[in-house]
């Protein structure tokens, strides 16, 4: 149905139409981008319920800030920035709550990775990727909110370090180091369980 409107063919057209107050134009943008936004926030939170809430929050924020979209980045990139920041805020809030609890139960705290089965099935029987799929969630939970955001934007969305710095409102160097720490943590957490040599001890 939206194909009958000229403005619906490009994101820029739909944004311009939405700015005149037409919600149908914004609906086109939601339908076009909701799944990729969902993938992004799912990768950051590793949780279906959080991801669903964050997609909703992202689009509401985007429509309230639509007048601030200046077209320098594509609409999709702009949307990803909002989504990454929404997810970062959620993770930060949750991590600071968790830290308070951890501080309280400091003696009984256990490393979440140690609660995972350490007898990983042999790599011959399971492909590396399906095995990682099972272990990635717990491994990601060891990353800080900013590390997760920077890593997901770099690794899955192909954003440059420069773009990630802009998106997360940090200097490129800080974005770069967040990615480094994310890669280090993920390798330390996952490679021993996968029977892969880290190959980084040189």
């Amino acid at each position: 149905m939206e194909a009958t409107h000229g403005w619906a063919t490009t994101d820029e057209g739909a944004v311009a139409e939405a700015r005149t107050g037409n919600p149908e134009a914004f609906r086109v943008l939601v339908e076009r981008h909701s799944r990729s936004v969902y993938r992004l926030v799912y990768r950051m939170t590793q949780n279906e319920h959080d991801a669903e809430d964050l997609v909703q929050e992202t689009f509401l924020k985007a429509c309230r800030q639509l007048h601030r979209f200046d077209g320098r980045a594509s609409f999709g990139t702009w949307l990803y920035r909002i989504a990454a920041n929404c997810a970062t805020d959620l993770l930060r809030a949750r991590q600071s709550r968790a830290q308070k609890q951890v501080a309280f139960h400091a003696e009984t705290e256990e490393n979440p990775m140690e609660q995972m089965p350490s007898h990983a099935p042999s790599p011959e029987r399971l492909s590396l990727s399906s095995e990682i799929g099972r272990l990635l969630g717990p491994a990601m939970s060891q990353l800080s909110a900013q590390e997760r955001a920077a890593f997901v934007l770099r690794h899955y969305e192909g954003c440059s370090i420069e773009e990630i710095g802009q998106a997360l409102k940090v200097r490129p160097n800080a974005a770069k180091h967040s990615i480094f720490r994310a890669v280090q943590k993920l390798r330390r957490a996952l490679e021993p369980k996968l029977g892969v040599t880290a190959g980084s001890s040189l």
Binding site: R19, G21, R27, R64, H155, V183
Partner: protein, 239 residues
């Protein structure tokens, strides 16, 4: 010779390393092997699929947000377009009202009673006041409803607030001059908040945004501006 660090290998993997790292990796067998092992791991992490969102959630998404989207887009459209169109005309009308009241009341009213009759002046004043409050209300509501995030860019609200300050001052003086104490008090309260908005940094932190929002909500300012604005315009149009 110093081998590449894991971080340098990571940059190489992402194609963001410099020439030095690239030529080292090209020449050094151990580093190439480490890069290959990193790449194998990273590619495997990338290949982990995310299952599609639940179909029923996808169907519910738009109906769930549509009312808020329509409200946000509609408010901005009616608000902004009126704002840009009426701005200059209102200021001119206001200046006429103000100066006619201040300086010309006795002289012109006697020679041209129909031109600046008290009734027509009151009508222009009420409509001007109604529109001024309506436009102020839009700026205040924008900020009051701004979602909280690390930094919020309020530059567009600031530009509008700056434009409204001059008009507000004239209206306040007019209200004081004509002895309308309640309008004068409301405009005085509004002027202080408009000044706060105009003088805030362009990018406000969530704490600064919260302060502004508290000032906007304090003593029911937003509510009063909305109610008095609508009432004044109604009265003005009936005169």
């Amino acid at each position: 010779m110093t081998h590449l660090t894991e971080d340098q290998l990571t940059l190489l993997y992402y194609g963001e390393a410099g020439d030095v790292e690239a030529s080292h990796a090209a020449a050094c067998e151990p580093c190439r092997a480490r890069l290959a092992s990193l790449a194998q791991f990273m590619d495997a992490v990338r290949s982990v699929p995310v299952s599609d969102p639940r179909a029923e959630w996808q169907q519910r998404l738009w109906p769930a947000i549509a009312p808020q989207v329509a409200e946000a887009l509609g408010r901005r459209r009616s608000g902004w377009s009126r704002l840009w169109l009426l701005g200059p005309g209102l200021a001119a009308a206001l200046a006429v009202v103000f100066f006619s009241g201040m300086y010309l009341q006795n002289r012109i009213d006697r020679s041209h009673p129909e031109a600046f009759s008290p009734k027509s002046r009151e009508r222009v004043l009420l409509i001007t006041m109604g529109d001024h409050l309506d436009r102020s209300q839009i700026v205040l509501a924008e900020l009051a409803n701004a979602p909280e995030s690390g930094k919020t860019d309020i530059s567009s609200e600031q530009q509008l607030a700056s434009r409204l300050i001059g008009e507000n001052r004239l209206l306040r003086q007019t209200a004081q001059y004509s002895g309308d104490a309640s309008d004068a008090a409301l405009l005085d309260q509004l002027e202080r908040v408009l000044l706060d908005i105009a003088h805030s940094p362009t990018q406000v932190s969530s704490g600064e945004l919260k302060d502004l929002q508290d000032r906007i909500e304090s003593q029911g300012l937003l509510f009063k501006v909305r109610i008095v604005g609508a009432a004044d315009r109604q009265k003005g149009l009936k005169l």
